[in-house]
């Protein structure tokens, strides 16, 4: 099932700002049109923000549902559901760009699970890695970005102090 991901100028502005990137190609349409890109483009890691359009994305509070972050209590879920601190961490991220992502594009993201593997970590016990490949196609069906994400689950919190 594909996630529809409209590439929006305002979203690009806020994303670039969050990265501390003042490059006007992300925010100023007349500058961008006159530049070699010919228009506002998305920053290189912007495809990841398709999460905003994924109705099942787990790391966003769902309206009306308990959330595992803090409110009155340290977690909105029963402590037994969140204890163990063996949360997932992002281990690797890879992008291949087939053409620039432009404000006004409407991409469709399709996710395919990849491999899973394990190894012993030095700092955090057993590590379980899992890979996801996301292909972003435009409305003409052209592949625009290929993203590959590797997540890792740890037995205990990573300690690097």
């Amino acid at each position: 099932m594909a996630i529809r991901f409209p590439i929006e100028a305002g979203h690009i502005i806020m994303f670039a700002r969050a990265l501390g990137d003042a490059n006007p190609v992300y925010a100023d349409e007349s500058y961008a049109k006159a530049s070699e890109t010919g228009g506002v483009i998305a920053p290189p890691t912007f495809a990841q923000a398709s999460a905003q359009f994924d109705p099942e994305y787990p790391l966003r509070p769902k309206i009306g549902k308990p959330w595992f972050g803090s409110g009155k209590a340290p977690s909105g879920l029963a402590m037994t559901e969140t204890k163990g601190a063996g949360g997932g961490l992002h281990a690797e991220q890879h992008f291949e760009y087939h053409r620039p992502v432009r404000a006004g594009d409407v991409l469709h993201a399709t996710v395919k699970p990849g491999k899973t593997w394990e190894r012993e970590g030095r700092r955090s016990g057993k590590l379980t890695f899992s890979e996801l490949v996301t292909e972003y196609h435009d409305q003409a069906g052209n592949l625009v970005v290929t993203a590959r994400s590797v997540g890792v689950r740890t037995e205990r919190p990573v300690d690097n102090n």
Binding site: R17, T45, F68, S70, Q93, P100
Partner: protein, 140 residues
């Protein structure tokens, strides 16, 4: 001024400071824009009491995005063909990060110049937080 292939040599290193004294607010901005609201990044109470960390830490993708800025400032806009990283150490509020690109290969394919880079971002203690690679089309 666009970078040209003739400007590049294998082994050249380009470094840019991509953040100084990272704020929790910038991490919140990134959560809001990216859609990743994992409380480990923005919720001190959760990060300490539930997840067992000393406090919140930045999204790896925030570091990757800031590192990308160094690359696009170097090679120009809409020129990256590949960019990939491993997140090697966490990034904490207060960190100052320097991102570097080292030219590892130069190629000409179908009349188009490409440069390959090794990418590394380190914090104020010299600890590497991100390790990766990039490839870009370069002006002739």
């Amino acid at each position: 001024m666009t970078l040209r292939a003739s400007d590049l040599r294998i082994g050249m290193v380009h470094t840019e400071r991509v953040v100084e004294d990272l704020t929790r607010t910038q991490i919140v901005q990134y959560a809001g824009a990216s859609g990743d609201y994992n409380p480990i990044h923005t919720d001190e109470v959760f990060a300490r009491q539930v997840a067992g960390y000393p406090g919140v830490f930045a999204h790896g993708m925030l570091t990757m995005g800031m590192t990308a800025r160094m690359l696009t400032n170097l090679v120009g806009d809409a020129r990256l063909t590949k960019f990939g990283v491993r997140f090697t150490n966490q990034v904490w509020p207060g960190d100052t990060l320097d991102a570097s690109a080292t030219v590892t290969a130069l190629a000409l394919r179908d009349g188009v110049h490409f440069a390959e880079f090794e990418v590394s971002t380190v914090n104020q203690n010299g600890v590497q937080v991100l390790s990766g690679y990039a490839e870009a089309r370069i002006e002739s």
